[in-house]
């Protein structure tokens, strides 16, 4: 009954259209009233929920991503990728994916990725004879790499949702191989499609020009070296590395590239404020919701329910994957990470699944949700940037869903894909 009051009121609020963050807050209050817990406790949880140093990493990484996307860094990554793979058949589709790999390595914003790389490459691909919806499908599915390849603010959210029991650096390192596997498989798919539909090759870029483009892109790619090098060597924490990424992105954009107008900066900050603060307040209200959830022993009930289903962890993981995929089609990534992680963590631990591994499963799984109707952030941005209808885009995405489900299966059933690299690099 307890759980019904809490989850029922939450579901009701969501359905009538109350924003997810505020729905969490209101249903936490309802739950507290139902259980006779003073509402002051809810306020304390909200305040404590946003009062964490590690949280700072989220606005920093998004701000850095926005500066890189709008300030011309992503355009240079595209140019660098064309130097490397542009001359192959289907070159521009490969360039698109590789540019997202690079962008993912300096930012975790898949939406910024789609918006910036898509606005450069989709028109160009169309000019060279690629169908618009195919170009858009390549862009949005390539953008998923940004979520997996470090840095990733969604990994920060997950670390937070586990109560800090999983380190941000372990999650960052764990994302490298799944991210590269996704990029690699997408490239294979594009090579196959390019051959079948006879997409054009790009012109090889002359050596001198290639060197210049590579040098320009290196400034941007240094971000990755700074972030990962800093964290791995222990010079600074993940949060501090995010702040350094902002300073570096700003420095390179304003003083090296120098093609971004100072007068456009307030607009950029305005956009970042509008998009990030809503995730931050979600974290606060999710903390209160999670607190009531725990008092009602909902996670234990879920654990018992799922454990009754099977004692084989692969069967459980399969069931959880189906659940996540279903919820992912309806809701955005950030709220799902914050709501579901505390609910599922007990069963994950009971089954002997490493929380870092589970984090990767969640990242891949929920990223698929960003591409699926009816609600998918990347789908919406992709359709706006590529000027294609959602229906056409979804149809073009079908082969790409195949790749994503393949990667999800690999990440789920081959734990080493997520755990080997952190083991080697962080020694655990």
């Amino acid at each position: 009954m307890d759980a019904f009051i809490l989850l029922g009121s939450f579901a009701f609020l969501i359905v009538i259209g109350v924003p997810v963050a505020y729905s969490l807050g209101i249903s936490a209050i309802v739950g507290a009233l139902w259980m006779d817990i003073p509402i002051d406790a809810i306020m304390i949880q909200i305040a404590a929920g946003v009062n964490k140093f590690s949280l700072l990493a989220i606005p920093f990484f998004v701000l850095a991503g926005a500066i890189m996307a709008e300030g011309g860094m992503s355009r240079r990554l595209v140019a660098f990728a064309s130097v490397l793979v542009g001359f192959i058949r289907g070159g521009l589709s490969l360039v698109n994916i590789l540019a997202s790999t690079f962008f993912g390595a300096i930012s975790g914003s898949s939406v910024a990725d789609t918006a910036s790389i898509g606005s450069v490459l989709i028109p160009e691909m169309e000019k060279k004879g690629y169908p618009r919806e195919f170009a858009t499908a390549v862009t949005v599915s390539g953008s998923v790499q940004a979520i997996l390849i470090p840095p990733s603010h969604n990994a920060v959210l997950y670390s937070l949702a586990t109560g800090g029991s999983v380190s941000i650096s372990a999650l960052f390192i764990a994302g490298v191989l799944p991210g590269l596997l996704l990029g690699f498989t997408l490239i294979l798919l594009c090579l196959y499609i390019a051959k079948k539909r006879n997409f054009p090759k790009g012109d090889p870029i002359p050596m001198k020009e290639a060197l210049r483009l590579s040098a320009e892109a290196l400034w941007g790619l240094m971000t990755m070296v700074i972030i990962l090098g800093g964290i791995l060597s222990g010079i600074f924490t993940a949060t501090e590395s995010a702040a350094i990424a902002v300073v570096w992105a700003f420095f390179v954009t304003m003083f090296i590239y120098r093609d971004y107008k100072w007068s456009d900066l307030p607009k950029l900050v305005h956009r970042v404020v509008k998009t990030v603060s809503i995730v931050m307040i979600l974290i606060g209200f999710a903390a209160a919701f999670g607190y009531i959830l725990t008092l009602m022993q909902v996670p234990q009930q879920i654990t018992e329910g799922l454990a009754a289903l099977s004692d084989n962890k692969y069967v459980i993981l399969f069931a959880i994957n189906i659940l996540l995929l279903a919820l992912g089609t309806l809701m955005d990534m950030a709220p799902l990470i914050l709501i579901l992680t505390p609910m599922l963590m007990p069963i994950v631990k009971t089954m002997g699944i490493d929380p870092v591994h589970f984090g990767m499963i969640m990242m891949v799984n929920l990223s698929i949700g960003l591409l699926t109707p009816p609600v998918g952030a990347l789908l919406f941005v992709g359709s706006a940037v590529g000027k294609v209808s959602i229906e056409k885009l979804v149809r073009a995405l079908f082969p790409f869903f195949g790749v994503l489900l393949f990667v999800l299966t690999m990440v789920t059933y081959v734990p080493a894909l997520s755990l080997w690299l952190p083991g080697v690099m962080l020694g655990k």
């Binding site: 609020l13 969501i14 009538i16 259209g17 109350v18 924003p19 997810v20 963050a21 505020y22 807050g25 209101i26 209050i29 509402i39 002051d40 809810i42 306020m43 909200i46 305040a47 946003v50 009062n51 140093f53 700072l56 606005p59 920093f60 701000l63 898949s110 939406v111 979520i147 969604n154 949060t239 702040a243 350094i244 902002v246 300073v247 700003f250 307030p266 607009k267 900050v269 305005h270 956009r271 970042v272 404020v273 509008k274 998009t275 990030v276 603060s277 809503i278 931050m280 307040i281 979600l282 955005d332 950030a334 960003l370 009816p374 609600v375 952030a377 990347l378 919406f380 706006a384 940037v385």
Partner: protein, 171 residues
């Protein structure tokens, strides 16, 4: 008249949040700089930047309410009859008013209750002050929701709609 005043309130929220993130991006690197270069690892950058982050969160989220950027599920309300959709809209406003009142009243209670304690690394800073953005952001949210209740959504206004073509998201 009301709308232009609230336009200013909206811009104030965005400016407070924007300057907060600006200050955070300077303070943290300064902390690293002082630790390695000056050799004087100071304690204040961490709590001070958390303070700015709390300001960023609650004022920014209030602005997000007026700009309708908060993540919400619209696929069900988009598919029902206009009459039902209108009722749902009123209910949403009602619940938002309740929650913003909660933020104002219980947030203020929290501030008053913690005025006597000080932040561990900042002896001059009462904990109550650091929580002030909660009731203040709640108050801003309340104003914006009341505006929406009586005059409808304001997302078309020039101060909000800075780039009309793309609806954004934080993922």
């Amino acid at each position: 008249m009301i709308h232009s005043l609230l336009d200013r309130a909206y811009l104030a929220c965005v400016w407070i949040a924007g300057l907060s993130i600006f200050c955070m991006s300077i303070i943290i690197p300064w902390g690293i700089f002082s630790r390695y270069v000056l050799g004087t690892g100071s304690q204040w950058p961490e709590p001070v930047s958390i303070l700015f982050m709390v300001m960023f969160t609650f004022f920014g989220a209030a602005a997000g309410v007026r700009a309708s950027t908060h993540i919400s599920v619209e696929m069900i309300t988009d598919r029902v009859s206009p009459a039902l959709k209108k009722i749902a809209g009123h209910l949403v406003n009602l619940f938002m008013i309740v929650l913003s009142l909660f933020m104002v009243i219980w947030g203020a209670k929290l501030c008053l209750g913690t005025m006597q304690q000080t932040v561990p690394d900042l002896p001059w800073m009462p904990v109550g002050i650091t929580y002030l953005p909660v009731p203040l952001g709640g108050l801003m949210t309340l104003l914006f929701v009341l505006e929406r209740t009586f005059f409808g959504a304001q997302t078309h206004r020039k101060v909000i709609n800075i780039d009309p073509e793309i609806k954004e998201d934080a993922n």
